[in-house]
Symmetry: C2
Subunit: 411 residues, 2 copies
Amino acid sequence: MVNSTPPDGFDHLYSDVVRETMDGSVYGSWRSIRDADAVSLSFGFPYPGSFPNQELLSAAEELFEAEADCALQYSGGEYAAGLPKIIADQARDRGIDCATSEIHLTNGATNAIDTVCQTFLDSGDTVFVESPTFMGALRLFRNYDVDISGFDVDEDGIVVDAVADELAKRQAAGETLPTLLYTIPNFHNPTGVTSSADRRERLLELAETYDFMILEDDPYGQLRYEGTEPPPIKALDETGRTIHVNTFSKTIAPGVRTGWAIAEAPIIEQFDRINAGGEPSFTRGLITSYAANGRLDQAIDDLCAGYRERRDQMVESLETRMPPGTTWNEPAGGFFMWVELPEGIDAAELLPDAIDAGVTYLPGSFFYHEAGGERHVRLSFSHASPSAIDEGIKALTDAVRTEISAAEADD
Amino acid sequence: MVNSTPPDGFDHLYSDVVRETMDGSVYGSWRSIRDADAVSLSFGFPYPGSFPNQELLSAAEELFEAEADCALQYSGGEYAAGLPKIIADQARDRGIDCATSEIHLTNGATNAIDTVCQTFLDSGDTVFVESPTFMGALRLFRNYDVDISGFDVDEDGIVVDAVADELAKRQAAGETLPTLLYTIPNFHNPTGVTSSADRRERLLELAETYDFMILEDDPYGQLRYEGTEPPPIKALDETGRTIHVNTFSKTIAPGVRTGWAIAEAPIIEQFDRINAGGEPSFTRGLITSYAANGRLDQAIDDLCAGYRERRDQMVESLETRMPPGTTWNEPAGGFFMWVELPEGIDAAELLPDAIDAGVTYLPGSFFYHEAGGERHVRLSFSHASPSAIDEGIKALTDAVRTEISAAEADD
């Protein structure tokens, strides 16, 4: 009988990219933040009271009543099969006119992004991203051994002029052009910025000129608390270069973990072909059952009210409390505010003091693939109660003021 | 505004492996079988009455009562977090002594296999498989651009002597050795064969000698209708070369689509790191809630009774009805029988006539990565009622007899 593990384990059998990246962090630095005894403004978690427990129970009862024999079967019954139609209807309301054959269901938006990566990315390819951007997407791109180039975000979204310049420069130099540009156009994570319609159009023009795909990640688009939504990039796109990715994690609950990608039918065929996620037919039927009778639309209205109140509180607390030299945006939706601390303060270095003072956040540097964001913090207003948000901002203010005083004392 | 799709679509932007495999079938040939107006012996679907609808509703009520605020949150609460412990306890009962840090949860067994592939396989690597084997695994391996070598299965499982010979030959010739050997040791899909303990030991010895991993896929192991289970390969393995993959799809229901991989902790860390499946925390909490109070153990006993009755009926019908020259195994568990039709009959060619006669099955050739299985059919006894199974075998018999008569008339 065999009885010894090789001294180096089985690392040598891993794929090249796993071996090259295996020592990278696994969100390690922020996992520890979770258990801090402080107000958490760290994560984009929905607030507890927002969960439709009773409604999902009713939906489950209705599902089992309607489809006792197939609600739990492989691929489910008509309810599970009906989910793409619900998604298509929602998308159509937002200007995306798609057929159910143009929808690929996934186990959440991250799984959808991964499916796009697996379909389009080879080792050595280039991906353009906003800088800063969603750290979960950065983590996935690294699994595909691609080069990542980041572009600044201003109050109108990704700085398209910079993207255009870089593309022209690369083309002139015969360098690699991107395969994919990844963007979060609505209530961007982490900055909260919404990209203007003009920027969206220009991205599409660049995609056509330079022959790349646009991956539009839109988990927050339906959580708008005021103003009018610019058309999704997918709605503006007449060429099929855009893959729109979305999820029910924010509009129903993260626990149902169901997302989708909308793309041209031939692309969806490839997504379906390489799919290895399995079909959680019970959850899919449950969502269809839940969405019936207007429950989903009503829930989105209720969620917007709950999040608007929290956003308003955070804005007010920041205005009232934060010392001069602190700046922020005021997002019209989504979960996040992106706050620049006064000059000389490093948000990552401040974090332990902030936790002691009674608040946690994610340092801006977490959202960059290279250096960046040192003075920024991402504050989430999605989870804490309004009073806890105020407490949290007070604690942040205390930590910042203490740091400023210490710096002045050193001078 | 952009307004034209390239005439060739976006195929040129796909990854190399997607572009090379994109014209492959998507289970196409059998999807059409599903809607046939005939007894289906095609698919490994649990029988309708086996689904725990009411028990899952109760489990959901209990879950929401216990964890109203986090059952639907990202990563859930204590119920969702408790699922690895339930899996570890089950595994321990079967001889696999593992910690929860040695378990990676997935969206079904296929997703687990894919995670193993992503972690270990590079383009050009070699994977050894049983021939025939599970077509879904073959489909996934193709996504990784690997070379597949198949080895016969006899009544004791994969023919290890052939594996040993091939390994020695490759080593002597300086050829590529496999990275992974994929095996279904219990109630193998499609043959129903259970690998002997001796074969399992020898596979482990070969894995150590030739430095490859064993991927043990065991969805049917707990559905044993008589006799004693040989130890899982993972239970025999003292070196950590085995990755054991399993699922609740067969013991609870496919619709909950939750699987797992058991491996050494450093390997699990890599699975966790590259994971893009999302965490369906509601489903995970639901399964934990369901498994409490012995509901899962009781369900497995009940399922075994239901499947045993169906297997017995299929064996009896085959014995009573099929013409001479037909042979089959008699599996002690699982879902499948592997039937060799009389000489001269091609199972794929027979299928349209069989459907007309009133039965569907999967031709044996579907389970081979190369040619093979032309005289075989895989019959599933998991889904049809015992009386429908008898009808189906009668229809199969009619189709075979008609074919034999036609062949004799031609002579």
